[in-house]
Symmetry: C2
Subunit: 160 residues, 2 copies
């Protein structure tokens, strides 16, 4: 991760895309959210969704996974350039998680985060607090996931 | 599910307990949240957590799973008594999700929800909106998960 001092409000982290398939929708849902419209096509057709849809939690952990992969690639690139890498975490939680549009079989979701606030931390003065809004948008440009989270990011300049 | 009219603010849904093991912590994290302290004991020991810890998302989807199982048992019991069962969902999203205490290997978390608000819906007059705070508490009585969610619940008395 970049150091806290190198991040600015408005910075964008672009995590890439993920395509939801009947197989990966059901594989998640069978284990963690086995509601009928997440595990069975016919039940999905009879539901208010009209078809099999991904669990909202699946759309959220997919964001998490792509974000972790992105941070790893960023760290590897920084290390390859001989730059030091900042620690990140723990996350404090999130707020305002919404699923505005269902995710259907075949949908491809693009995930990103926008930095919305940066402030110093009283409890961990060696870190700052980064607040960012993360979104997933489907191939029609419709938002399918939105949440705001706050996490610690290591400062380059530590207080004495 | 009970019908909207049969739910009161203060009602408790008791979902039961789940024990987090090294195996189930890693199985979730490898797929959805592969940060080092969620997938490797030695990395966990070196981290600010001091040991392998469960992904916060794992503690959240475990709540989801236990809640779905609970609702299914409730529906089966109501049907066995010859009572009609109300439809529930979709959920609108969540707010104020926090992970106040890490979940370590061997921790047993008790999950429950408390109904905090009930109101009618303008967009779906055949349903009401139930807002509930869900919590997970470990075997030491410490909270590990808290979130507030709102979902539609079918009304027994439909408007004309």
């Amino acid at each position: 991760m970049k150091f806290f001092e190198d991040i600015q409000v408005g910075d964008v982290f672009d995590y890439g895309r993920y395509t939801f398939t009947a197989d990966n929708i059901k594989a998640f849902a069978v284990r963690y959210d086995p509601q009928a419209f997440h595990v069975d096509e016919a039940a999905g057709e009879r539901s208010h969704f009209g078809a099999l849809v991904a669990s909202g939690w699946h759309t959220a952990v997919t964001w998490m996974r792509l974000m972790i992969d992105y941070r790893r690639r960023m760290d590897e690139a920084m290390l390859a350039r001989g730059e030091p890498v900042a620690g990140i975490g723990p996350a404090l939680g999130f707020r305002d998680l919404t699923w505005p549009t269902p995710v259907y079989v075949g949908d491809t979701v693009a995930y990103r985060s926008d930095v919305v606030e940066l402030r110093l931390s009283n409890s961990r003065p060696q870190s700052g607090l980064m607040t960012f809004r993360s979104t997933g948008v489907n191939q029609h440009g419709k938002p399918v996931l939105s949440l705001v989270s706050t996490t610690f990011v290591e400062r380059r300049e530590k207080p004495p």
